[in-house]
């Protein structure tokens, strides 16, 4: 039960509300409201992880989202393991299970720490240099080993069982950050009646008031004021408060992405709750109140567990009631650490000494520290920390060198100053400007309708932060249409704290020429020396330094390290900081889970599934389905004991001997209607249409403007002003888009209407010698005799009492009909046709048999036998060009020199010398199999099947000069040996086409 470092009476947690958790299997006690970090510290645990590269022991640096070190894995069950959770952000719940990462066999004894000894080999850019030779070893040896040894947590290997939700929201004023300034802005905006959203990453609003014990607003303690203000905002209908919500991305036109952590802090979250909620907010005005982040001091071995930021130690004390040690050292370059020392001292914690880099620190803070009897060593530096798994002492030296003195400590708190959080401002494409006086980047030129307030805008006192926030909130609300503030009064800071000054870069003992490990970027193990080395090796731009050293590239994105790195690079280059430049801030501000981004779009909801009206029948018949785009298409219909091969063979034979029924409903269908419909068709398709009689069909080919085949399909002319156009299944949407494009922009003078009717009409293909006998008994009002309705004709009438557009056409080479009926009747008409078909021995067939049958006839499939670089001539389809036409899409492109040059690949048939061998689609074709590798490839196989009807394998291929190679022997080299093939016509069955006419 005992939490040895919890101080009775300190902090804001309730002692009676306890919780239990385990860390690396060991049980601990905590209080409700603790973060994992505060709970571990309450139990005296500082060592929580091993570093990325050197496997150095690491502790807790911060008390917030900037944490680079304390990354742990949190495990709820086998499927719900979250790696790289910041212990400073994770709230403790009863039963929490957490593990340390990147250590083996244990956290206190880690074999990987050998890297620390060999660190001279792992300096900046080491993997660019050390592992260059031999080349092949990179993939097989170096990379796998580096990846295994370096790294962060382990990702879970089971599907995530949590669910995530997504909300879109609109508001007039979005306030990002719920510290003093953000709350003031929200108050001002909310009082005007406009819709306000206030978001903060912490569980409770208040920001730095969490630790600033000296803040008093409107006569109240700062934290109390914040909670009262939040209570007031919570009671207003026009305000939405989002705690535990991180604004991770600021996009165009005030579109901000936020993730709300809904259940990560709950012991037993209900299944109805999403784990996280993604908010996509469009705001008229955005107030950025993201505060500032404290920086650490840079000196040798400044990464030892027990060394942390001063503000963090203060947060743990003032909010969580936890002392970070019993004998705490302080290393400062500004006043911020004094406040922490004073608070700790007053709480009864021993302060070993304050080491202040400044020569003559003065002011009330310094006076108060002195009055409390704290030893202050000014003009001195901590040049080294001792202790391995926990800091045990610090070595202090006058800053310009001199006698060393060792001071025993069990913790060291440091502050080198504060960095304004301009991340979101910068993401909004605003330009930051370097303020020379205060040595920091602040918001400069704005790109969007937003305003930065408070510490992120350089406000150095609570009064200014409140003023800026309130004024910005009121102004934003007014500009967004809010009424004049009704009752609001500006919050007034009676007392506050503020932190100016500090230093950037390496402290004494870690400067130029030293080889100590003075860390800048803890998470990526980047030291001051690494930055200098990068510059010495020729990196001039900060972007190059960043990539060479990986400074700021870890999951914390350098929130504590970027300014130190920049300062050292600038110093080494002998340039000013603004000349070296700042690296780009990119989304996300902190890591975002894949679950939040993927959200509902997983499993069946990843992509819509399209099913035809006849789908249930095929399913009941035991059809095997294949995915074609979003469509589920019946692939083949296996009978008991049949494999795919046997089923497809049977289906193919049935179509040629009796008949087959095929669900062609997925075909794209577009109705082209209007007085100028024929003119439009003339322009979009290569074929002539004006003279096509109503009631007749034509195979239509469409090119792109560049002259390559784009789509094809049979077109029926229903009337002078009405065409029923079919497209490929996959091409339906893009053909419609292309038609609309030309109609709206190039040929707007044509009076034509286009309507997608793909889903309105179900299509049942009845193909085979007995197809007419199957269709005839069900058709009313249409003479379907060969004379009255020859091949390639279309009639309107009725079938089974419902309207039909009945096409006499064939994609199988047999006499055939395609029965179009309104989709709602598709299943009923299919069942009626199926019943008739049964009398004639018809079989249902799927897409595989359809493919084989069309290949037996040499019919191409656009997208399989063509690939966007095939011309009509290549495909042997020149006959489909209207020779007298003066314009159509592609008419000029198809005569480009390269498209009419000799030697182009043409579609031919291939017969393997061994008829039983079926070629592989995509296999390459060569003329001489004995040439040296790499061989000259002259073509490739586009379609290949076993044809039961031909009693042999058949294939189509694109082969250079293919049509002039008829009868030639070519070769298809495969891993199992070279296959001999003979070039032939792509028509393998019924070459004269007599069967089409019955």
């Amino acid at each position: 039960m005992a939490e040895p470092f919890r101080i009775a009476g300190a902090g804001r947690l309730t002692p009676a509300r306890t919780a239990r958790f385990t860390f690396d299997g060991k049980p601990f006690h905590a209080l409700q409201g603790d973060t994992l970090a505060s709970a571990l510290l309450a139990n005296g645990v500082h060592l929580v992880g091993r570093s990325f590269k050197y496997h150095r022991p690491r502790g807790i640096l911060s008390a917030g989202a900037e944490e680079p070190n304390a990354l742990v894995a949190v495990e709820r069950d086998a499927a719900r393991k979250t790696p790289n959770v910041r212990a400073t952000v994770q709230e403790v719940y009863d039963g929490l299970t957490a593990h340390s990462q990147n250590r083996w066999p244990s956290l206190s004894f880690d074999v990987g720490a050998i890297n620390d000894v060999f660190s001279p080999f792992f300096s900046a850019g080491f993997y660019y240099k050390t592992f260059m030779w031999p080349k092949a070893a990179w993939k097989s040896i170096y990379e796998p080993n580096i990846r295994a040894a370096a790294g962060l947590g382990v990702s879970p290997d089971q599907p995530d069982t949590d669910h995530y939700s997504s909300r879109f929201a609109h508001c007039e004023v979005l306030v990002l950050g719920g510290g003093a300034s953000g709350i003031a802005a929200a108050l001002a905006a909310a009082e005007s009646g406009v819709r306000v959203i206030l978001a903060d990453e912490q569980a409770e609003f208040g920001g730095a008031l969490r630790f600033e014990a000296g803040a008093t607003i409107d006569g109240k303690n700062g934290w109390v004021w914040a909670q009262d203000a939040i209570g007031r905002l919570a009671g207003m209908d026009n305000v939405r408060l989002l705690p535990r919500t991180t604004a991770f991305g600021y996009y165009a036109q005030n579109f901000v992405g936020l993730t709300e952590r809904v259940t990560d802090h709950l012991a037993n979250p209900g299944h109805d709750l999403p784990r996280e909620r993604l908010w996509q907010v469009r705001a008229r005005k955005v107030v950025i109140a993201t505060g500032a982040i404290e920086r650490h001091m840079v000196f040798a071995d400044n990464d030892r567990p027990g060394i942390m930021l001063a503000s963090a130690a203060r947060t743990y004390l003032n909010h969580y009631g936890v002392a970070v040690g019993r004998n705490v050292g302080v290393y400062a370059a500004n006043d911020s650490a004094y406040a922490a020392a004073i608070d700790l001292k007053k709480a009864g914690v021993g302060i070993a000494a304050i080491v202040d880099l400044r020569d003559n620190p003065a002011g009330p803070m310094v006076d108060e520290a002195r009055a409390l009897g704290i030893e202050i060593n000014h003009g001195r530096a901590v040049v080294k920390a001792r202790g391995k798994l926990r800091v045990s002492s610090i070595v202090v030296q006058p800053k310009n060198g001199g006698a060393e003195r060792t001071i025993p400590v069990d913790a060291l708190i440091t502050s080198s100053g504060w960095t304004p959080s301009v991340h979101l401002f910068s993401q909004s494409r605003g330009k930051v400007a370097f303020d020379n006086e205060t040595r920091r980047f602040l918001p400069g030129t704005y790109a969007q309708d937003c305003i930065s307030v408070g510490a992120c805008n350089g406000a150095d006192s609570l009064a200014v932060a409140l003023d800026e926030g309130y004024a910005a909130g009121a102004k934003a609300a007014k500009e967004a249409g809010g009424k004049a503030t009704r009752s609001g009064t500006k919050p007034k800071a009676d007392a506050g704290e503020g932190w100016t000054g500090g230093m950037l870069g390496a402290g004494p003992g870690a400067g130029e020429g030293t080889t100590v490990k003075a860390f800048i970027d803890f998470q990526n193990d980047v030291t001051a020396k690494d930055i200098r080395q990068a510059v010495h090796e020729g990196m001039r731009s900060i972007e190059h330094v960043k990539r060479f050293t990986t400074n700021g590239m870890a999951t914390d994105q350098g929130k504590t390290s970027n300014m130190h790195g920049l300062a050292i690079a600038a110093e080494t280059l002998g340039k000013d900081i603004p000349e070296v430049g700042l690296t780009t801030f990119r989304a996300p501000y902190t890591p975002v889970t894949f679950g939040s981004i993927v959200n509902h779009a997983r499993g069946p909801l990843f992509d819509p599934t399209r099913r035809t009206p006849i789908h249930p029948w095929a399913e009941a018949q035991g059809a095997v389905f294949e995915d074609v785009g979003q469509w589920k298409r019946a692939w083949y219909f296996p009978k008991a004991g049949e494999d795919m091969h046997a089923a497809v063979n049977r289906e193919c034979v049935a179509v040629r001997q009796t008949a087959g029924l095929f669900d062609a409903s997925t075909l794209g269908k577009i109705e082209v209607v209007g007085p100028d419909a024929a003119k439009f068709m003339e322009l979009l398709y290569t074929n002539p249409w004006e003279k096509l009689e109503a009631g007749r069909c034509r195979y239509g080919l469409m090119l792109r403007e560049d002259g390559f085949i784009y789509d094809d399909g049979v077109v029926g002319r229903l009337a002078a002003d009405r065409f029923h156009v079919t497209t490929t299944t996959g091409g339906a949407a893009r053909v419609m888009n292309m038609m609309e494009d030309y109609l709206q922009t190039e040929f707007p003078h044509l009076n034509v209407w286009l309507t997608s009717i793909s889903e309105q009409w179900a299509v049942i293909a009845v193909q085979g010698p007995t197809s007419r006998e199957i269709v005839a008994p069900l058709v009313e009002g249409i003479d379907i005799s060969d004379d009255a309705m020859p091949h390639m004709s279309v009639r309107e009438g009725k079938i089974c009492g419902v309207p039909t557009r009945l096409f006499r056409m064939s994609f199988s080479g047999e006499r055939g009909f395609e029965v179009n009926v309104p989709a709602d009747y598709g299943l009923a008409v299919w069942e009626a046709l199926w019943a008739e078909g049964q009398k004639h021995g018809a079989s249902a067939y799927g897409t595989e048999a359809m493919h084989v049958l069309r290949a037996e006839k040499g019919y191409i499939i656009v997208g399989q036998d063509t690939d966007g670089t095939v011309t009509m001539n290549d495909a042997g389809l020149d006959w489909a060009i209207g020779k007298k036409k003066t314009d159509f899409v592609g008419i000029r492109g198809m005569t480009r020199p390269d498209l009419v040059a000799a030697g182009r690949k043409q579609i031919v048939g291939l017969k393997t010398k061994d008829p039983k061998t079926v070629l592989e689609e995509g296999a390459q074709v060569v003329a001489n199999p004995n040439q040296p590798i790499p061989m000259k490839m002259i073509g490739h196989v586009t379609s290949s099947y076993w044809s039961e009807n031909c009693g042999r394998s058949i294939a189509m291929a694109l082969v250079a000069d293919g049509r002039s190679r008829m009868g030639d022997t070519l070769y298809v080299p495969m891993p199992g040996g070279t296959i001999e093939v003979e070039v032939c016509s792509p028509v393998f069955f019924d070459e004269k086409g007599g069967r089409l006419n019955g």
């Binding site: 008093t216 002011g363 305003i451 506050g496």
Partner: protein, 124 residues
């Protein structure tokens, strides 16, 4: 996500409803079949890729389905103006208050960093 004003629907709608359709004001010859190879190259292949204002086509594909034109700044992604297909290129100098353009705002005058206020609590 951008907000784009559809000149037919006459309102700003989210980018998800739209699809970019390439450069605008590329004129297809009325005598297509007989243009030279050079003219075809210009018509079909050569496109502007400016750092700055581009005139481009968009389709409100999940809305009214109309194609229209837009002038957009490729650096800021800001739409300067959108206009109906077939209308001439607008004179951008004359556009001051384009509906979907958000003017860049200058930051408010920077206050001098205040001297740190002493914490009164500790004086007490």
């Amino acid at each position: 996500m951008l907000l784009i004003r559809c000149p037919y629907c006459e309102e700003e709608r989210p980018e998800l409803e739209f699809r970019n359709a390439g450069e605008a004001h590329v004129v297809r010859s009325s005598d297509m079949a007989s243009i030279s190879d050079e003219d075809f190259e210009k018509f079909f292949f050569i496109r502007n890729n400016p750092k700055g204002v581009i005139f481009e086509r968009w389709r409100h594909v999940h809305g009214c389905a109309r194609f229209f034109n837009a002038a957009r700044d490729t650096v800021t992604d800001k739409f300067i103006v959108t206009y109906k297909a077939g209308m001439p290129k607008p004179d951008l100098d004359k556009i001051t208050d384009a509906p979907s353009a958000v003017a860049a705002t200058e930051p408010p005058a920077k206050k001098k960093p205040a001297r740190r206020a002493p914490a009164k609590k500790k004086d007490a």
